[in-house]
């Protein structure tokens, strides 16, 4: 019979579409793999010259000194410090904004505010960097006299504002997707709007909210320009927000724009730092996926 001969998998258009889609998606995958592989070669070179223990435990990062030290700790401390300050700003403000957007804003103001936030998200971070250095730092120095010109406090505060949209828009999406029927149940029990928001919608959307925070965190860790400009480029093992520091990203910028000869240990150090950064953000993303799976609520 005719219909038995027409196997859908043999349809030429179907086959063409399939091949096209698979090859396009493998481009992305292969690029990622390529990035990792190209890093690995140089990372291996680095660890032939510098022992892993030195990298993990040495308290100083001074690749360009006569007696270079290669301890990643100061760079991680710098990254951690700036990220923590940024999150202290972005989480409370971003989540408040998200609650406002999801529960209080009227149907016409909501898209306008979200749109504005997305515009804000599009501002090049180099602009934020100079804003921190030339405007926020002098302001802060007025209040904190022994604040360095380059300091993680100013960079972290400005970065916190820069990543608010990542927290607020993703968290607001999560809260808006909580079914209307659940809100109605709470209102029918005599809950006030703030009680509905905090006791019902927020907990119901918690997995999306945590995902938003983790997304913002990896954004803060990877952020480069603001810290390179405003936080300084002197790796210091400290958690004092007034000191000049360097983060992993700002070191990479510094090294990449500097004049380390190709093949020197300082040159390979660049890749070791890049790889550490890559591992950290990868871990965070895996954590985010795990959290979303673990705490996802099914409403039906």
């Amino acid at each position: 019979m005719e219909i038995l001969k027409q196997r859908p998998s043999r349809n030429p258009k179907e086959v063409l579409t399939f091949v096209l889609l698979v090859s396009l998606s493998s481009v992305t995958l292969l690029t990622t793999l390529g990035v990792i592989l190209s890093l690995v070669g140089d990372v291996v070179q680095f660890f032939r010259r510098v022992p892993l223990l030195e990298f993990l435990l040495a308290p100083e990062w001074t690749p360009l000194f006569a007696e270079p030290r290669y301890g990643i700790a100061p760079l991680i401390a710098g990254t951690f410090l700036v990220t923590a300050i940024a999150l202290l700003v972005a989480i409370p403000l971003g989540l408040s904004l998200a609650i406002y957007l999801a529960e209080y804003a009227s149907g016409s103001t909501r898209p306008r505010i979200k749109g504005t936030l997305e515009l804000f998200e599009g501002i090049p971070t180099v602009v934020f960097g100079y804003f921190a250095l030339l405007f926020v730092t002098p302001l802060l120095q007025w209040a904190i006299p022994d604040l360095n010109i380059f300091n993680p406090l100013s960079a972290g505060l400005v970065m916190g504002f820069a990543i608010i949209p990542y927290v607020s828009n993703v968290a607001a999406d999560a809260m808006e997707s909580v079914p209307r029927s659940i809100r109605e149940a709470a209102y029918a029990l005599g809950a006030r709007p703030y009680e509905v928001a905090l006791r019902v919608v927020f907990p119901a959307a918690i997995s999306g909210i945590i995902a938003a925070i983790i997304l913002a965190t990896s954004r803060a860790i990877g952020e480069t320009m603001i810290v390179a400009i405003a936080a300084g480029q002197r790796p210091t093992l400290t958690l004092d927000p007034r000191e000049t520091i360097a983060t992993m990203t700002s070191y990479i910028v510094q090294a990449a724009t500097g004049d380390q000869p190709t093949g020197s240990t300082a040159f390979y150090a660049l890749f070791a730092v890049g790889f550490t950064l890559f591992l950290l953000t990868l871990l965070l993303n895996i954590l985010a996926q795990w959290v979303v799976e673990r705490y996802r609520e099914r409403y039906e």
């Binding site: 009227s106 149907g107 079914p179 029927s181 659940i182 109605e184 149940a185 709470a186 209102y187 029918a188 029990l189 005599g190 809950a191 006030r192 009680e195 006791r199 019902v200 907990p203 119901a204 609520e297 099914r298 409403y299 039906e300």
Partner: protein, 271 residues
């Protein structure tokens, strides 16, 4: 044959009217609009204490809208406008001095689709009680009591603290929602087609529960299932196109309807 023009100045046909003294809720000339569209026309009706009143009528007749005006849930719909009075215990709940939140704490509601919170069974029932400030052992006692009254206790007593309300079956979820609504002891309980999403066995369990509830509560139930109205209710309201066509004791409405539309609907000729 059935049009709004014919019903516009319709005077509700009433059998054995409820006296003012018997009424817990007294609706007086209630009109309601969603934006420009009028959804309720001049409705006057009384709901007697400790009885079950069913509201029936074809889809879009305004039965859910009428139910939702009794606890001001319609306030949550943007663009809604209400004229007329709803007296609850003699107080007009649409008086500008009345806080709609306080109204909803007095009046429980159960919805068409079971809508438990994504929380444990215990926390679902405790929600309204916590809003009212209950804590500790008193809170626990009231939760257990509500689960017992909603005929859910036997099925969940060994797991109600840990298990999410969402893991229960549909019928159990609806009984959980009833437990959640009655935990705060509301004198009036509104039910909006509470069994329309359930299978016949779960429906049976809910109906048995509803009949038992009238000892403690006054119940108003919207249903599109006429057999259900006949089985559980003491009085029945028949609505059509936003108009209250006829109301009276359930038995009369179903055996000797006075208005031709009521008769047409209950004999299945439209709807």
């Amino acid at each position: 044959m059935v049009s709004l023009e014919l019903l516009k100045d319709h005077e509700t046909v009433r059998s054995a009217p409820v006296t003012e003294a018997e009424a817990l809720v007294d609706v007086r000339r209630l009109n309601l609009w969603y934006g420009k569209k009028q959804a309720l026309y001049d409705i006057s009706v009384r709901f007697p204490r400790n009885q079950i009143t069913a509201i029936i009528g074809p889809s879009g007749c305004g039965k859910s809208t009428l139910l939702r005006s009794l606890n001001r849930m319609n306030d949550l719909v943007p663009g809604v406008r209400v004229e007329g009075e709803v007296l609850y215990e003699g107080v007009n709940i649409y008086d500008p001095r009345v806080d709609p939140v306080a109204v909803r704490r007095q009046i429980g509601m159960v919805f068409q689709k079971p809508n438990p919170f994504p929380k444990t069974i215990f926390e679902n029932v405790a929600f309204g009680l916590r809003l009212m400030g209950f804590k500790g052992s008193e809170l626990e006692d009231r939760v257990v009591e509500a689960l017992k009254r909603a005929a859910l206790w036997n099925e969940v007593q060994d797991r109600f603290r840990k298990e999410s309300g969402l893991r229960l079956s549909g019928g159990q979820q609806q009984r959980l929602c009833i437990a959640r609504a009655i935990a705060v002891e509301p004198p009036l309980l509104l039910m909006d087609e509470p069994t329309s999403a359930l299978d016949p066995i779960a429906t049976q369990a809910i109906e048995d529960l509803i009949t038992g509830l009238k000892q403690h509560y006054t119940v108003v139930i919207v249903t599109h299932n006429m057999q259900q109205a006949a089985r559980v209710s003491d009085r029945t309201l028949f609505m059509h196109l936003g108009v209250l066509v006829e109301e009276g004791p359930t038995e009369l409405i179903f055996t000797k309807p006075k208005h031709p539309y009521t008769e047409a609907y209950i004999t299945g000729r439209f709807g």
